[in-house]
Symmetry: none
Subunit: 190 residues, 4 copies
Amino acid sequence: MPIQKTDAQSIIKSALNVFLEKGYHKTSMNDLAKEAGLLKGSLYHHFASKEELMKAVIESLHEYYRREIFVIPKLPIPPLSKVKALIVASEEVFYDQRGGNFMTNIALETLNVVPDFTLMIRRFFKDWLECIAAVYREVVSDKEALALARQTMAEIEGAVVMMELFDEPKYLKEAHKRIYQRYEELANQI
Amino acid sequence: MPIQKTDAQSIIKSALNVFLEKGYHKTSMNDLAKEAGLLKGSLYHHFASKEELMKAVIESLHEYYRREIFVIPKLPIPPLSKVKALIVASEEVFYDQRGGNFMTNIALETLNVVPDFTLMIRRFFKDWLECIAAVYREVVSDKEALALARQTMAEIEGAVVMMELFDEPKYLKEAHKRIYQRYEELANQI
Amino acid sequence: MPIQKTDAQSIIKSALNVFLEKGYHKTSMNDLAKEAGLLKGSLYHHFASKEELMKAVIESLHEYYRREIFVIPKLPIPPLSKVKALIVASEEVFYDQRGGNFMTNIALETLNVVPDFTLMIRRFFKDWLECIAAVYREVVSDKEALALARQTMAEIEGAVVMMELFDEPKYLKEAHKRIYQRYEELANQI
Amino acid sequence: MPIQKTDAQSIIKSALNVFLEKGYHKTSMNDLAKEAGLLKGSLYHHFASKEELMKAVIESLHEYYRREIFVIPKLPIPPLSKVKALIVASEEVFYDQRGGNFMTNIALETLNVVPDFTLMIRRFFKDWLECIAAVYREVVSDKEALALARQTMAEIEGAVVMMELFDEPKYLKEAHKRIYQRYEELANQI
DNA sequence: GATGAATGAGCGTTCATTCAT
DNA sequence: TATGAATGAACGCTCATTCAT
């Protein structure tokens, strides 16, 4: 009986991968435990339920974005560099983590079924939207910035969905290109 | 215990609603049966398995699109009218039956888990993409048409996801407006 | 809707094959119906239940033996010819009908579970035992005849089981040879 | 709700009894669990499926024979004592636990339906056959020994079947007596 | 007599969760 | 804290049987 110290963070990290691959409902506590290197019952020492573990995963991912991505608008760099940085960061997340959009997938799967998740994921997307809007505000009016952020968000979301469905990264590549060029034009108009 | 005849089509119709609300995995045969006014076991007279029933739902929805929407490009009306018709048809589906996102939701939930669904849904989106491309081809070159169709598709998909997540129809409204205006400009350039 | 006339006897005949191949419990009314060329519900016009159908099969097989085999001892032929005739008849049944011993298989499978079958099958084996004993009585005393019949019966039963288990007809061939030689020796001693 | 530990061996033991009484298909996981003092679902901690449990039962019984019975030919005792020992051991199993026919019953019931069982049971009977042949080899040639072992095996099998069917132990008693006497004669001829 | 939709009980199995060790 | 046996509810599915047509 090898006793291995496991902390909540490493469980969260491995859980994210499993949830991403199988979805919420198809993932069993056994799957999560195995990936975390312990047994089913042991998970309950760290998280009170499967739902709580998922919430921790969502929160952890949100926290990561807050720390690494949503701060980009506040960096002391030119607007276009911010756009580029956001794109690079996005691609890292979407490509490296197996190409799935964790938040979107979980949101759609659990909508109407686990309302708590929906609320948390909404908060995440609001932050993301605000992040994008902040960058647009540097080149257009507040109102236009919000509309453009919504358009950008939708394009990215849609591209990620298409990319995932067809297993073709080009959808996201194209979207990022369009978004960059559009921003460039706006920046030049100033 | 009155025995009432039920036909496959009415089961498919009610199943679509349940699947849409709960997702594939959270929907039980019991749920589907109840909605269809039957007992669990009786469903198996019409469909060999839950998976087969879902396939029938997907196919039925695809068939509906083929019949009602994907024919629009071939109608003897001006290009802009086609765009308008497509938008009207889409909104009907997305708002009234919320049937459009059905495909996306099921696709994302069952990706890597039920490959058959993925294949069927890919076929659906390929048809839809081709439908959009066909309309663009009336005003731009083949190559451009395809790229624009991909962008349009992504915008719609993303807008529907955001709409569903935030329960705000404006996302799709905005996307449709953008798409229409973009097409108008292209048409004027000829 | 092709309406086909089916009579009880042809259902019994096809049922015997299915039961022999799959056993009693693994055979469904659907299997039986299909083999009989009609639909599940229609079977109930001919037999009140699966159990009743099986009883009819057992009775029918017993009747066949009564008519074709158990009369051999009374034929006006020499004792050794009777033994040969019994062996030929046995091999026809065991080899032609897929090599299984229907009565034994069903008996063992349903012992303690469907007492009615056991009773009927016991009656069958009593008749068979008496048939064999009758032939022995032509060459030995009544008491010896019964003992020899029991031995013979056991050897055949065992050989059929081994034959079926190992899918090797030689077990039964060998048993029949032994039985024939033993009888020959007894006949010569008179 | 007291939680009591159960180990695989005790489940196997109780499962053997239930399978023997009801057969494989008529035995439900509920039956097996109840006999083992557990709830249905708890069985799956010890065995992955009903089929795996049955395999464990078969293997366990085979192992018992290997340990207690199939070693008899190698014991440093006279040949006739070996025959007697085999008969005593057989009767213990057949009368007390009725475990001998277990193999035959399951084999016949699951033939063509669960091939894995057939293979395992074939291996068991091959070992048993070899065990009997080994004892015959001490008094006759190799070739004769094999033939006699096959005859002996068939007689025992058949006798056990008849015994079980008619619920009369005399069939097996008689078979054992014949087998012993036959061996005695062979031994005296040397 | 044949059909096939409907029933409802039961099956083997899964799984989130509990808890004594 | 880790274990793993046990729980009990639910699941997808099967099937003997019924019965309106």
